[in-house]
């Protein structure tokens, strides 16, 4: 062994290796490129705060429901008690739970924006995420603005049991009201969007956009391959696969995401004659 030479040349806090093309990327440059490989366009995951900065007009974000935290309704303990897991995630990520919601403007369109945070317990949806997203939907309805939800989640949070499952119905109830009011809802699926999150709000936008190569699937790949007892084809449950099967509108590279959303928001904006939104 060459005595950790590889590590010395590329210390991990300065360099990241692209898993797709093997290129060593300088972390600062990677961050400047919104976590997209400069050589092969591989999309690394992007943190929720960085995602908000990427999408909105600079400085226009007003965060809501910052301090909502999770209770422990079931008294759940697996290898660690649930409250301890939550606390560790809070310290690690600096967030209170797995979704950040607020009002922002995108190309001067006021929107309600909710972004899920995969770094917080795998972006799992429990009562707090359900409550925050529902409130975001209700605020959009009250202010008659569009709603955008960027999902990045492994699914429902097991530690809150069936209560997590019920959050799917709770959020969809709010989205149904938004739909009836004729307000746009744009779903953005990023890596990964799976399980109960995909089987609820992430699949029902007026528009559904996804990032290149994002993992998008209902069942975990392991469960699926065990069901048929063989290996899954390459590219299975990736954004391009889902696009091909007709369940999303577009696969949008991160660099174009903001402009694309802005275009759709402008296209959906009511004209002076059409007073649907302001009534």
């Amino acid at each position: 062994m060459p005595f950790g030479r590889q590590r010395k040349e590329f210390p991990s806090h300065l360099w990241t290796q692209c898993p797709s093309c093997g290129e060593m990327l300088f972390n600062k440059q990677l961050a400047r490129n919104h976590n997209v490989c400069t050589k092969c366009e591989h999309h690394f995951r992007l943190g929720a705060r960085e995602r908000i900065e990427l999408l909105i007009d600079k400085g226009s974000f007003t965060e809501h429901d910052v301090d909502l935290t999770s209770g422990d309704p079931l008294g759940f303990t697996d290898q660690k008690p649930y409250p301890q897991r939550v606390q560790q995630s809070q310290v690690k990520s600096g967030e209170k739970d797995a979704a950040i919601c607020g009002t922002a403007s995108i190309d001067e369109n006021q929107v309600e924006l909710a972004v899920m945070d995969f770094d917080f317990m795998g972006g799992s949806m429990g009562s707090v995420v359900g409550e925050k997203l529902t409130r975001a939907g209700e605020r959009a309805l009250a202010n008659r603005t569009p709603l955008i939800i960027v999902s990045s989640s492994g699914g429902a949070r097991m530690q809150e049991g069936t209560l997590s499952l019920m959050q799917m119905a709770k959020i969809l109830g709010a989205l149904h009201r938004l739909d009836e009011a004729g307000l746009p809802y744009i779903a953005v699926q990023t890596d990964p969007t799976t399980g109960g999150v995909l089987a609820s709000f992430a699949s029902l936008g007026d528009l559904i956009l996804a990032e290149p190569n994002a993992l998008i699937g209902f069942s975990g790949a392991r469960v699926t391959s065990e069901t048929i007892g063989e290996k899954l084809p390459k590219g299975f449950q990736r954004a391009e696969f889902v696009l091909e099967h007709g369940f999303i509108d577009q696969v949008v590279p991160r660099a174009q995401l903001r402009d694309r959303i802005a275009y759709f928001l402008n296209a959906f904006r009511p004209s002076a004659r059409d007073l649907r939104w302001s009534l």
Binding site: T69, Q79, T134, A199, A202
Partner: protein, 324 residues
């Protein structure tokens, strides 16, 4: 839950003899009233019991007549979802949608063990819309280990089908009574279980993930399923306490499979009472009560503004060490 209680009169005082007043169809609405408490793992096994009355048997016993309707008008007819128009005593025609698992291995293979494909959920959505259009109450019977997880189901949009079924039920302009008769497996069950009244049999279970699945992920060992079943609070009595179901339908002492006829009679009494009661609530009130029913499920802690301690964040040097 106040709105629901007020509108539907869910909270009824218990009479001096300890029984519920007539009118709510013999439901158990307080978990402390359960006489024999089983462990969650025993409930899991009872809910999956092969001889337990399954949907087709229940439909035959509860309704006077049942005309099955087939197909999703898009791809094929999924035998794991059974639906149609049925005649309910004292009420008239209703739409029934149910998940059917088999009582034998052959039937289970034919019905993919009660795990619906996307077309099964699309058939359900078609029947929900039919109920709405013709002002028929909707009755659903839930009994599934979960939605089918294979690659064909993924290709045909399992997640989209489930999401649309849930959203359709949220806004459906007709009364909905959902009964969990066996296993309520995650999103695949919720696609039939959004309702104005959600009932469960005494030994039914309803969970976000199967105990085996949770054990494999959280304990990294499928043999810890019993521990997971305890932790997930998936037994009917826990669901009642958490407000996820509104009432329990009593089963015979040894479980539903020991006396199917009595179980089905109890299901019938409960369904007749609830459909009749919901039928008298104006639709607009029903829909806002349904919204509120789900709106208030979940536990969040929201401190009053100004009472917060300073947020704990990781020291900057530790972030650098982690390479973020």
């Amino acid at each position: 839950m106040d709105v629901v209680d007020r509108l539907l009169g869910t909270k009824k005082p218990i009479e001096s003899n300890g029984h519920l007043p007539n009118g709510d169809g013999g439901l158990i609405t307080d978990s402390t009233m359960l006489s024999s408490q089983r462990t969650p793992w025993q409930s899991v096994q009872l809910a999956r019991e092969l001889k337990r009355p399954h949907s087709i048997e229940v439909i035959a016993g509860v309704f006077d007549k049942f005309e099955e309707l087939h197909g999703d008008r898009g791809y094929r007819d999924d035998p794991a979802v059974v639906g149609g128009i049925a005649e309910l005593e004292g009420v008239g025609p209703v739409v029934v949608v149910a998940q059917q698992r088999g009582s034998t291995t052959e039937e289970n293979i034919a019905r993919s063990f009660g795990m619906p494909y996307p077309e099964g959920y699309r058939k359900a959505i078609r029947l929900y819309r039919m109920a709405e259009k013709f002002h028929l109450p909707l009755v659903t019977l839930v009994d599934t280990p979960g939605a089918y997880p294979g690659p064909e189901a993924e290709e045909r949009g399992q997640a989209e089908a489930i999401a649309k079924a849930i959203a359709t039920m949220c806004g459906l302009q007709t009364p909905i009574v959902a009964v969990i008769i066996g296993e309520g497996g995650s999103g695949g069950a919720l696609a039939l279980a959004v309702g104005d009244m959600v009932l469960a049999l005494q030994n039914a279970i309803y969970s976000v993930i199967s105990p085996e699945g949770a054990a494999a992920i959280l304990w990294r060992s499928a043999t810890e399923a019993e521990k997971a079943a305890n932790a997930l609070k998936l037994a009917a009595s826990d669901l009642l306490r958490l407000g996820i179901v509104d009432g329990l339908i009593p089963e015979p002492a040894g479980g539903a499979h020991t006396d199917s006829a009595a179980t089905i009679a109890a299901i019938k009494t409960a369904i007749v009472a609830q459909v009749d009661r919901l039928g008298r609530v104006p639709i607009a009130d029903l829909l806002s009560a349904r919204y509120e029913r789900y709106r208030h499920i979940g536990t969040v802690i929201e401190p009053l503004p100004g009472t917060l301690p300073a947020p704990k964040t990781e020291p900057f040097w530790r972030r650098i060490m982690r390479g973020v």
